[in-house]
Amino acid sequence: MTKFMTLKDAVATYVKDGDSIALEGFTHLIPFAAGHEIIRQKRRNLSLIRMTPDLIYDQLVGAGCVRKLTFSWGGNPGVGSLHRVRDAIENDYPCALETVEHSHAAMANAYEAGAAGLPLAVFRGYVGSELPLVNKEIASIICPFTGEQLAAIPAIKPDVGIIHAQKADRAGNVLIEGIIGVQKEVVLSAKRSIVTVEEIVDNLEVTPNACVLPAWTIDAIAVAPEGAKPSYTLGYYDRDNNYYKQWDNISRDRDSFNQWLESHVFGQGDV
């Protein structure tokens, strides 16, 4: 089946300049290998969407791939700032970065609404927060039964959804297990989807209600062992917390970041 591709071919086929892209994974299963491939293929003017833009988006922004970022918590968890993202916002380096800022509840609901094929998400949110003053996407509806005002934001429906998962079977069905975040929603709401997996197996060996994405919801599956590092894959490897700590130094300085980019991204490849 053409569904199974190299990561290089998957990104070349399905990720275009100017696309809106969600690479998701809530701490767990962050698709770093796919992000690096996008950097290597020098995609530009991307609109990136992600609840917690951590290192992977710092790297994509620092590499000049991104013009817009939609997010709800931007930082290096437990460590500090995303220096490349800040440099882009504050100094337009390497290019200007527009931001759209939400809360987690808002983005989780917006992904859910996208997967549900709805144009909007309705939730009880943003009460008393000043985020609606600075994000014009945030609107409201009135409940026709109770008169209560509820928050409304547009559903997220990215051009491309990219996630990492534990494994696929030979038919292309994918198991996601552990902290599953919004990964199912990203694949179901996206126009095109790429899933990287640790391995291909004969049988997923799952319980009846496991989080399995059928093959026909996915455009391309690429095997990328350790494709979530320095994030982690439950059952395969742990989070490399030291990498996250060291990223603070690497990313703080443009030169050291660019060196890292050359050696760790452009110097790699052909996954």
């Binding site: 809530f26 767990h28 700032s81 008393g128 000043e130 003053l133 599953i180 199912k184 439950l234 996250y244």
Partner: protein, 277 residues
């Protein structure tokens, strides 16, 4: 920081964590923020509240981590959880659905009405923030943003806050209301349907603060041992008031200090035992 090989000595950070831990009781469901709240919540679970239900926004329900998570979604949280749900389900069914007793939050800035700011520190704010949109457009420091806090604060039945006390943090008006306490005028929760009662206690390294029942302004209700009123006044960016019946916070017990130190030692060991970049 003082050394703490024995339990007659302890740091102000330890005092804060242990006091915050005591706010939780055994039968509560607590939506836990990363950092200080997570530390306090797990100390509570490992001391007086073994059955407290800890919930992290990553979807991990009723989790019992052996070491503190560095991120909100560490593997430890999932492996020790009763079950793990999707993030949309976490925010829709468990938080918005009304199953959370306490939201336990940290913050970068807090004001006299317990509003929280984790969005931006403004470049200049002549009389404190008060104009969030202006602050947002003119940041001096860009903070990580709201994350789960804006809806934790309104959808949990009540909110505990723990944060280190300083004039930089305790401001008269936050530069930006990321997460409502009681609003710019203390009346932000009045006459709203389906909203929790908001912050009920703020625990710092100096004292315990609670909102005045009428005005909702935070007042000091208990000073930690060795802390003076002047210490608190000096570290607070508004004219802080003290309760008439001002208490002294009980000292950490031997057991509490032991549990906290063991937890931090296990955490340190677990997080450093990993390969370099």
């Amino acid at each position: 920081m003082t050394t703490h090989n024995d339990t007659t000595q302890y740091t102000s950070a330890e005092m804060m964590t242990i006091t915050a831990a005591r706010a939780l009781t055994n039968n509560m469901t607590c939506f836990v923020g990363i950092g200080l709240p997570s530390e306090a919540a797990n100390v509570a679970r490992l001391t007086h509240a073994p059955d407290v239900t800890l919930i992290y926004e990553s979807g991990t329900l009723q989790t019992k981590p052996d070491v503190l998570p560095l991120s909100i979604g560490d593997g430890e949280l999932c492996e020790s959880a009763l079950t793990t749900v999707s993030v949309p389900e976490m925010f829709r069914y468990w938080l918005q659905g009304g199953h959370i007793d306490v939201g336990f939050l940290g913050t970068a800035q807090i004001d006299r009405f317990a509003n929280l700011n984790t969005t931006v520190i403004a470049a200049n704010h002549p009389e404190g923030g008060k104009n969030g949109a202006h602050s947002y457009a003119n940041p001096r420091v860009r903070l990580p943003g709201g994350g789960g806090a804006p809806e934790i604060s309104t959808n949990a039945k009540e909110v505990f806050i723990t944060v280190k006390h300083s004039k930089r943090t305790f401001v008269k008006d936050v530069d930006f209301i990321t997460t409502i306490g009681f609003g710019r005028d203390g009346k932000g929760r009045d006459n709203l349907p389906n909203i929790g009662r908001g912050p009920s206690v703020v625990i710092t390294d100096l004292c315990i603060l609670k909102p005045d029942p009428t005005t909702k302004e935070l007042i000091v209700t208990s000073l930690h041992p060795g802390t003076t009123k002047e210490d608190v006044i000096e570290a607070t960016g508004w004219e802080i008031k003290f309760a008439d019946a001002l208490e002294t916070t009980p000292m950490p017990s031997e057991k509490e200090l032991h549990v906290l130190r063991e937890l931090k030692a296990r955490t340190e060991k677990a997080h450093s035992a990993q390969e370099a970049i």
